[in-house]
Each structure stands twice: as C-alpha cells, then as structure tokens.
C-alpha cells in the first residue's frame, strides 16, 4: 500500500502539481464547480422524486 502511495507521490504529475502554484487552486475550482453541478442536479432530482417539484409546477 505504502509503495503505491509513494509511487503516486513521486510521479512527475504529482511533482508538477506541487511545484506550479496556480495548479492547486485551479484544480480545486474545477472540483468545486463539478460538485456544484452534481449536488444541485441531485437535489433537483430528489425534490422531483419526493413529489415536491413537479414537471409543470404551479405557474403564477
């Protein structure tokens, strides 16, 4: 297990991510944006399944 982790840590991609200062915030931003879409889509689907959100909601 430790060998696998060490191999990942020492790989050129891992070193590059640690060295380039803009990489971590950018990757984290992409991570957050993907989470945003995932969580929001799941919430919409859940509310739809729960019958709270209807296909044709009560229009004004």
């Amino acid at each position: 297990m430790n060998e696998i982790i060490g191999f990942i840590y020492n790989s050129p991609v891992s070193s590059w991510i640690r060295i380039a200062s803009w990489v971590i915030p950018t990757v984290q931003s992409v991570h957050i944006l993907a989470l945003a879409l995932l969580v929001s889509s799941a919430l919409l689907l859940d509310l739809r399944l729960a019958g709270i959100y209807l296909l044709r909601g009560l229009l004004p």
Binding site: Q28, I32, L33, L37, V39, S40, L43, L44, Y53, L59
Partner: protein
C-alpha cells in the same frame, strides 16, 4: 484610502477577534461557504444551461426559475453571511487582496447581468417559455451568468492561497 478606519474597526470587532482566536471557526465557515456556493452556482448553472438549450426535468423556464430561485437565495444568504464573517476576521488583509477585489467586482457584474435578464431578457417569456431555442438576448444573459460564476469560484478559491497573514 478613507475606508481604512472602517476596515480596522471591522477587524477589531469582538466577533472578528473570536473567529481569529478560535481554531475551529474558520474551517467551519469555509465549509458552510463552499457548500452554499455549490448550491448557488449549481442551481444557477442549471437555469443558465436551460437558456443555452440544455434542459433539466422541465422544459419550462418559468417552472425552473420558480423551483431553483428559492434555493439560490437561501444559499446565497448563507454564503454571504459566512463570507462576511471570514472577511471580518481579516478585513484589512482581504480588502487589499487582488483576488478578493476581482471576486467582489465579478459579483457586482453578475448582479447587473441578473437585473439585465430580469428587465430585458425575460421579455415575452410566456411566448418562449418552453421553446427549445430562447431569444438571443436571454441566451446571452445565460452565457454571461455561467462564465462570470465560474470566474467567481476561481478567484474565490485563489483568495485562500494568496492571503497575506495580516
């Protein structure tokens, strides 16, 4: 700058001091901030994508708005409150951070874009509510909103990496 005394007053505030002294407060505020931003940006993206032609569970823009906007506003209030608390803990430091300044400017832009969509973009919405392709002006507002929100998240995340301690 004349706002310097105000920033200092915010910094010296009791609550700001409590956040600085507490080890747990800041990570909790960050968690609340990121989670509520996820809902704000995610829900808005779903509406934006609908304007760009990718529809969710309903083709109706009005239904989607009615369902997404309450979640957006509640989440935005949570994001703004947790963000304000984090800002207060180091008001003088954040105010001169370029990434923070960009983020705030982009939030103003996205708000202007929202007003633009509300006043101009939604014109005769009942006529194109369920149309696969919406008017160009509404598509433009959706595209702008999507791009600006992505930039808001980007600069927001950068703040945590560029902040001078005090």
């Amino acid at each position: 700058m004349t706002i310097q005394p105000l920033l200092q007053a915010i910094y010296d505030w009791q609550l700001s001091d409590a956040i600085r002294l507490s080890e747990a407060a800041f990570p909790w505020l960050e968690c609340i901030h990121v989670l509520s931003i996820c809902l704000v940006v995610g829900m808005i993206s779903i509406v934006d994508l609908r304007l760009l032609g990718v529809h969710a569970h309903t083709p109706s823009v009005r239904v989607l708005e009615r369902q997404a906007l309450p979640i957006v506003w509640v989440s935005f209030a949570m994001a703004a409150a947790s963000g304000a608390a984090m800002f207060a803990s180091n008001a003088t430091g954040y105010a001169k951070n370029p990434d923070f300044q960009y983020k705030m400017a982009l939030l103003v832009l996205v708000f202007v874009n929202m007003l633009f969509f509300h006043v101009v973009g939604r014109r005769r919405l009942t006529e194109w509510d369920e149309a696969p392709q919406v008017p160009i002006i509404a598509r433009l507002a959706g595209l702008l909103s999507l791009m600006i929100w992505i930039a808001v998240v980007f600069f927001g995340r950068r703040i945590g990496f560029t902040l001078s301690p005090f």
